[in-house]
């Protein structure tokens, strides 16, 4: 196994080269985060064969073993997606400057499959010379942002999910499968045997020229995917399953106001030869669409030099050389994750939502704000407003006292109702802990009377009852608790018995002593002794005398050199 492990370590080593000294690096300090170009696993998804050879002198041994490295291909489990931005169904996605992105739970996911087919090279497709030639560094996924109009054709939205998904090859509702335009040989080489033809996957169907106008270039795909390490210390799900590592895929598009957008994380695995990605899109500096962009564009092109286009022939019977003309008008892509949102003129980001947390005005010198008004944080005028403390359970809530008691009614077992007070374990003011030496015997013992009002405080009684109910509802706990107590008690009882024995002089040593004295002083002893003596000395001799040869022959065959048979 030595070499294989070495190879794998080499690969990991490469990743770590760009990381700080520790492997894996410890989380960054609180409030900091680290960005990485990518995190590559030791092996990409696929089938592997391991050949092991060993030579010892003239002896030669050879063995093969096979294993699969698996990973998502046709869709992502919900748990693989950590978060999306703008949030799903957001109505006020910020326009103009922020770009949509998706955060994936697994840091290496975007690089776990091959973007390129096995007979393709990066040089074949790249247009920017200085970008890396290492195919492993290119992600197999891209985040495409479409407006609803761009994705709609003939009144039908080109997002096919769940039961409405498209087949891998077969047509469904007269829409061809995602890989229907590939030959059987191509599909076999791509691990889609004909048995998978009718498997349904989520997919988008989009006009190819629109796709090319919004999709990133190959180089941009690489630039739009990175990994991130954060400190999970201050987060909710700081568990062993969430290690603070993520992969992030960015979109390449800012949002226009008042649009419905669809964000689609798609797989481009093996699809490069279809010319779906733009290679040299025209560019402008200024936004107004009325401006004449030609001058700017040509200037830019001159500035960076025309991209070198070499070997642009698709590797396998693709849809033709070069750009748009010969391409099919619609393209189906495997959809790994999809969410939609609306943009508006209002900025609805994290900050805006945080600033819209509600507070109550305690007093204000403003004319348009009064005590008791509920206003967003952002509207507080620090110089003129005093806001109520943001405490849980104060008398600003109807039915609550200043020290968090809620007036409620208790239904007694006799059917009568009684006014009582209840307070939750979460209170507005610090409560001193009173350490009792004994537990409450029952819930009645936990009742308290509020002297001033002459009514019951049922807080602790409710807590006691709740504890009982929760314990009764959990068989495992009651069983464990019972076992703990029972074992302890058994242990104690044993100790007690021991103690009593000791106290009454019935201990083993004392009993032995007593026996000894009986032995020495009793006449019975001699009779028994003599009997025992007789049997002791005579019995073995007798047995030896009767059947020595039989035993010897029997044992000689069964237990050669067998020990431990002294005839007892």
């Amino acid at each position: 196994m030595g070499r294989l492990l070495e190879r794998i370590r080499d690969r990991i080593g490469w990743v770590v080269n760009k990381m700080p000294a520790n492997n894996p690096p410890l989380p960054p300090p609180v409030g900091e985060y680290r960005l990485f170009d990518r995190v590559l696993g030791p092996l990409k998804a696929g089938r592997y064969k391991l050949e092991i050879e060993q030579n010892i002198g003239a002896e030669e041994g050879k063995v093969s073993r096979f294993f699969n490295v698996t990973g998502p291909r046709w869709g992502l489990e919900a748990a693989e997606v950590h978060a999306v931005y703008p949030p799903r169904n957001e109505q006020d996605a910020p326009t103009n400057s922020h770009i949509p992105f998706i955060t994936l739970q697994r840091r290496s996911l975007p690089w776990e499959r091959d973007l390129f087919l096995s007979n393709e090279t990066v040089q074949q497709y790249k247009t920017y010379n200085q970008m890396t030639d290492d195919a492993r560094k290119y992600p197999w996924v891209a985040l495409l942002i479409f407006t609803e109009d761009e994705l709609t054709d003939g009144g039908q939205l080109g997002v096919h999910k769940g039961d409405e998904g498209l087949c891998l090859v077969d047509s469904k509702n007269s829409i061809p499968g995602v890989f229907a335009h590939w030959s059987q040989t191509q599909r076999d080489g791509f691990d889609i045997p004909s048995s998978m033809n009718s498997i349904t996957v989520d997919a988008i169907r989009v006009n190819t020229s629109i796709l090319r106008s919004v999709a990133p270039t190959l180089e941009e795909m690489l630039l739009l995917a990175h990994s991130r390490q954060v400190n999970p210390q201050d987060k909710e799900q700081c568990g062993s399953d969430e290690d603070g590592w993520f992969a992030v895929i960015l979109g390449n598009r800012v949002l226009k106001p008042d649009q419905k957008y669809h964000a689609c994380l798609v797989s481009l695995e093996g699809r490069l030869s279809e010319n779906l990605l733009p290679t040299n899109p025209p560019l402008v500096l200024n936004a107004p669409i009325t401006a004449d962009p030609s001058k700017v564009t040509s200037m830019m092109m001159a500035g960076f030099g025309l991209p070198s286009i070499k070997g642009k022939t698709p590797a396998k019977g693709g849809s033709g050389v070069g750009s748009a003309p010969s391409m099919p008008s619609f393209t189906n892509l495997v959809l790994l994750h999809h969410w939609s949102f609306n943009s508006s003129q209002t900025n609805g980001g994290f900050q805006a939502r945080m600033e819209h947390l509600n507070v109550r005005v305690e007093s204000s010198t403003r004319s348009n704000a009064q005590a008791g008004d509920v206003i967003p944080l952002a509207d507080i005028d620090l110089n003129r407003d005093t806001i109520e403390p943001m405490l849980l359970g104060t008398d600003s809530v109807p039915g609550l006292t200043a020290n968090s008691y809620l007036s409620t009614t208790m239904h007694g077992s006799d059917g009568l109702q009684e006014d009582v007070l209840y307070r939750s374990p979460l209170v507005a003011y610090s409560e001193q802990r009173v350490v009792r030496d004994e537990p409450y015997a029952n819930s009645d013992a936990a009742l308290a009377v509020v002297q001033e009002l002459g009514i019951w405080d049922i807080s602790h009684a409710s807590a006691f009852e709740l504890g009982r109910l929760l314990a009764l509802g959990d068989g495992k706990f009651t069983k464990a608790m019972k076992a703990w107590v029972a074992n302890d008690i058994k242990e104690e009882q044993r100790a007690e018995v021991q103690e009593k024995i000791e106290a009454k002089g019935f201990s083993v040593s004392k009993l032995n002593e007593r026996l000894q004295s009986i032995k020495q002083h009793s006449t019975v002893r001699k009779v028994r002794d003599s009997r025992i003596d007789t049997s002791k000395h005579k019995a073995p001799q007798e047995s030896k005398a009767t059947e020595p040869t039989d035993l010897e022959t029997e044992y000689a065959g069964q237990a050669p050199g067998g020990g431990g048979s002294s005839g007892r």
């Binding site: 200085q130 560019l283 952002a378 359970g393 109807p398």
Partner: protein, 337 residues
């Protein structure tokens, strides 16, 4: 000699997969004290005590026991609280009472256990155990902030309930509490450790601190920080940042003009062009040379916006010059002695 051959002869031998070993992802557990190690030796006791520990942290307590009136926690609000330990002790009494039915069993609880009644020693053990329950957080905290990792056992617990759609839409929101009477409170050594941080529903989180922070900060999740460009659609630009996140001081070379594709609605950014400009900024010395070999990490660094922080501070420090952040909220604990 070992060869690694990809994808050959697979058809005949599909059933001969070999399991590949995985590194021990639980190695960290050996570096700290956990509930398992704390209660090791007596399996029945360990099971029961771990259950009681979770109850101590109010984990299975129904929401209406915590917030008995809807109006106490309206939508889009944050509400701070103290935990009444007497209530929680009564809860534990109730749970234990289920199994302590006979006189003998009741006696067991009150027996002397090394100088104090077993009842008191169970409570003390739970005081320690509740600090160990969130093991991975304890481990991470110990790695990055040893002062905060040291928790007081059996002391005051405070926290807040936060009911907002932010919880659903921005998973991973970060919460920090600091305890400070004067000076800059936002220092690592003043941080108060988290006791419990959990989601009670889609839009409600409950955070409990081991102690009583005077300053609380809620921050946009670091893995979900917005990315984007500055300016508006007439002219997008990028303000350059160094590797430590600091802005390059404004000058004629500290920004990059961002082009757009001359197609669609001109909202598709020229990402490759941005990257090329950044490379030029590295060679001209405006950006750190440490960026030289970076690709997507360089782009992300330049496009990341600063995370938004919302601070909650006591009234008397709202305008304090010592606190470097603007304070929109006031946090008033009240009743402290």
């Amino acid at each position: 000699m070992v060869h690694l051959v990809v994808d050959e002869d697979m058809k005949e031998v599909r059933d001969q997969y070999v399991e590949v070993s995985v590194p021990d992802s639980n190695l960290w557990r050996k570096q700290i004290q956990t509930l398992d190690t704390f209660f090791a030796g007596n399996e029945a006791k360990s099971q029961a005590m771990r259950w009681l520990t979770r109850l101590r942290l109010l984990e299975s307590v129904p929401f209406q026991y915590l917030v008995p009136a809807e109006e106490m926690l309206p939508t889009e609000t944050i509400r701070f609280f103290h935990i009444d330990r007497n209530w929680v002790d009564a809860l534990i009494d109730g749970a234990m009472s289920v199994t302590l039915t006979s006189t003998r069993e009741k006696q067991w609880l009150l027996q002397d256990d090394e100088g104090q009644s077993r009842y008191v020693s169970i409570k003390n053990e739970l005081d320690t155990a509740e600090n160990l329950a969130d093991a991975y957080r304890n481990f991470v905290t110990m790695q990055s902030n040893a002062t905060t990792a040291t928790k007081k056992s059996g002391g005051r617990l405070t926290g807040f309930l936060f009911r907002t759609s932010l919880i659903r839409d921005f998973p991973g929101i970060e919460v920090q509490g600091y305890s400070s009477e004067n000076g800059n409170p936002w220092m690592p050594e003043k941080q108060v450790s988290l006791h419990r941080f959990s989601r009670l529903s889609d839009t409600v989180i409950m955070v409990v601190f081991n102690g009583c922070p005077t300053h609380v900060r809620l921050q946009e999740p670091a893995e979900g920080i917005r990315l984007g460009v500055d300016g508006d659609e007439n002219q997008f630009e990028l303000k350059l940042k160094q590797a430590d996140g600091a802005l390059v001081p404004p000058s004629s070379t500290s920004t990059i003009n961002v082009r757009k594709r001359d197609s669609a609605d001109r909202s598709v950014l020229d990402v490759l062009g941005m990257y090329k400009s950044m490379k030029n900024k590295i060679s001209s010395g405006v950006l750190d040379a440490s960026f030289t070999d970076q690709e997507s990490a360089l782009l992300a660094t330049q496009m990341l916006q600063y995370p938004y922080q919302q601070d909650f501070v006591p009234y008397n420090q709202m305008d304090s010059v010592d606190s470097p952040h603007p304070h929109k909220g006031a946090l008033h604990w009240g009743g402290d002695s």
